[in-house]
Symmetry: C2
Subunit: 321 residues, 2 copies
DNA sequence: CCCTTTTTTTAAAGCGGTTTCAGAAAAGCT
DNA sequence: AGCTTTTCTGAAACCGCTTTAAAAAAAGGG
């Protein structure tokens, strides 16, 4: 096996010098550095990561626990991956299917120091159980949780929805239909926003069915079909997310309905689809959220961490309203 | 930090004995074993996995490289996860988006011994590059590849499709429409099967459009709508997968079409949806395929490996034909 | 030229486990 | 009791790397 001693021997230096070269430490003669690098190249040498991890006390792997690979977790995970990579970390993804056992696998790996830190998007075990693992390494979540042990990058969607509704109102829409997802924990906030909004402007929303469990493109298409047949039509539809809005928009256009002429459509998330279809939507900064999550972990690991972003919803005005 | 030496000291034994207890080695006095276990419990001790990996020369982590989390890769990955867990291995999933760089991350982790082995479902880099990494650890693929370096658990879908077509023929269907996915590498085999099948029974398939790029439930629904409007209707439709078949079936039923009375539907894969909707389909044994992949890796790692399954397609006759 | 200061280098001590090897204790057999 | 075999134990080497501490070499200052 080719190890650091072998490299040192062939380069005629000590292992310490080789280690210095590998880790870009100062105070090593340029000539020797080149010699070492050449030997490393010639022998196709890479440091054994277990040894490095053992000595350094960290693996530079952080786990991401997610119930499933969903529309909402995907962009977060991707952004998290990128920022982690930039800081020389690897990400180990745990798709738990919301199974306690599978989740514990991740937690136990934190305990045995195979993981430096953990991001808990979803969770199956009770919070106290998860909290008890924070003594082995930092854990961060994106769910609402006020707790010293587990910091959160939670964003209250209330503001976001309100931002969207206010926009529709400003544009003159008064018969706004609201589409809920009911999946996930954000629906209550959304309902509250719609309620407060309706009260504020003395709007009567009783005439508009609030559909539940709508999360996909197909759901949007269905809503479009029922809109066409409806007699007392809303003049704007605020969707649970961009996928629903996209399905709605394309199916309406297919039926020859003018958007926003006959009905305005508002999305949520600002994903690729929304950009593509030029949907007005509320930007949910899941990339910055992911970067914050990573920064918090980095900080708790005692490493130099980038400053936190302030997480803010942003209205992206496009042609669908 | 609580390490094995600490445990040894408190239990009044040597570290060797503690290690023996942890690893279930024979020849350790029952009384001492109990004492050691008690101390371990009291101090909430877990062996440091980096140290174990370093000494044992393996991490017991195997990587799975997948372009994306798709309909076809999902069941394989799940089955692979289960079998790996049963053998005390962890799985690290790499969603590469078919990006060479992201794929190299996995390969490099194999090189630096952070991974013991690799499963390459999809790939972005050229095969020779991937092959060059086999000197660092076993790599297996599910794609067709005749090569000593990278064993494959590939299944030629030709047989599977033929099995399905023969079934339709046996049931008396003669005007069979074939739906291709065109995504992935299996479409050519499928086309060949359909060709050979048509020739064998002197069937004229020229009248039936062979749709391409159909992979989702929505695609199935679209096919249903066009079937309804078609004048020269096929009496059976062989779908690229169960999702397409499911969309087709539900949309046809919605339109009041009798299945299999007016038209028969054949799926492919035998996934949950097919079971649920009672679709006749061809079982694709991706679970056994995954177990074989794992067994091959285990064997190449010099570990005791379970016997290989013979991979066979199986016709699952249900009520849609 | 001598004394500091800075740069360069290495020997050696770990990091936290596993395993070999040799010896001690216990058990089994004449 | 004497001898072989089996069970049990721990000292010590080792896995491959990083880092400290101390020494050597070079550079700077007067």
């Amino acid at each position: 096996m080719t190890n650091i001693r072998e490299i040192a021997r062939l380069a005629g230096v000590s292992t310490a010098t080789v280690s210095r070269v590998i880790n870009d430490h100062p105070y090593v003669n340029e000539e020797k550095r080149q010699k070492v690098l050449e030997i490393i190249r010639r022998l196709d040498y890479v440091p054994n990561s277990s040894a490095t991890s053992l000595k350094k006390g960290m693996t530079r792997i952080v786990g991401v626990v997610s119930g499933a690979y969903t529309t909402s977790s995907t962009p977060f995970i991707q952004a998290f991956n990128i920022i982690a990579q930039q800081h020389g970390f690897h990400v180990m993804l745990f798709l738990t299917d919301n199974d306690c056992g599978k989740e514990l696998v991740a937690l136990e790996m934190l305990r045995s120091k195979q993981l430096d830190a953990l991001v808990c998007l979803h969770r199956a075990n009770e919070w106290p159980i998860i909290e008890s693992y924070t003594k082995y390494g930092p854990i961060v979540t994106w769910q609402r949780l006020v707790n010293d042990l587990i910091p959160s990058v939670f964003m209250d969607q209330y503001q976001g929805y309100m931002l969207g509704l206010e926009h529709l109102h400003a544009r003159g829409y008064r018969r706004i239909m609201n589409v809920y997802s009911s999946k996930g924990l954000n629906t209550p906030q959304r309902m509250r926003a719609y309620d407060d909004f309706s009260k504020k402007y003395w709007l009567d929303d009783s005439g508009f069915a609030d559909l539940h469990g709508k999360v996909s493109i197909t759901d949007g298409e269905r809503i479009a079909r029922s809109w066409v047949e409806q007699t007392d039509k809303p003049d704007a539809i605020a969707c649970s997310n961009d996928d629903v809005a996209a399905g709605l928009l394309t199916e309406l256009k297919r039926a020859g309905v003018s958007v926003p002429g006959e009905v305005a459509i508002l999305g949520f998330d600002n994903n690729n689809l929304a950009r593509l279809l030029d949907l007005t939507t509320v930007h949910y900064p899941s990339d910055k959220q992911a970067e914050n999550a990573f920064a918090i972990l980095l900080d708790r690991l005692g490493q130099e961490a980038p400053a936190l972003h302030t997480l803010e919803f942003e209205l992206i005005e496009r042609s669908s309203t």
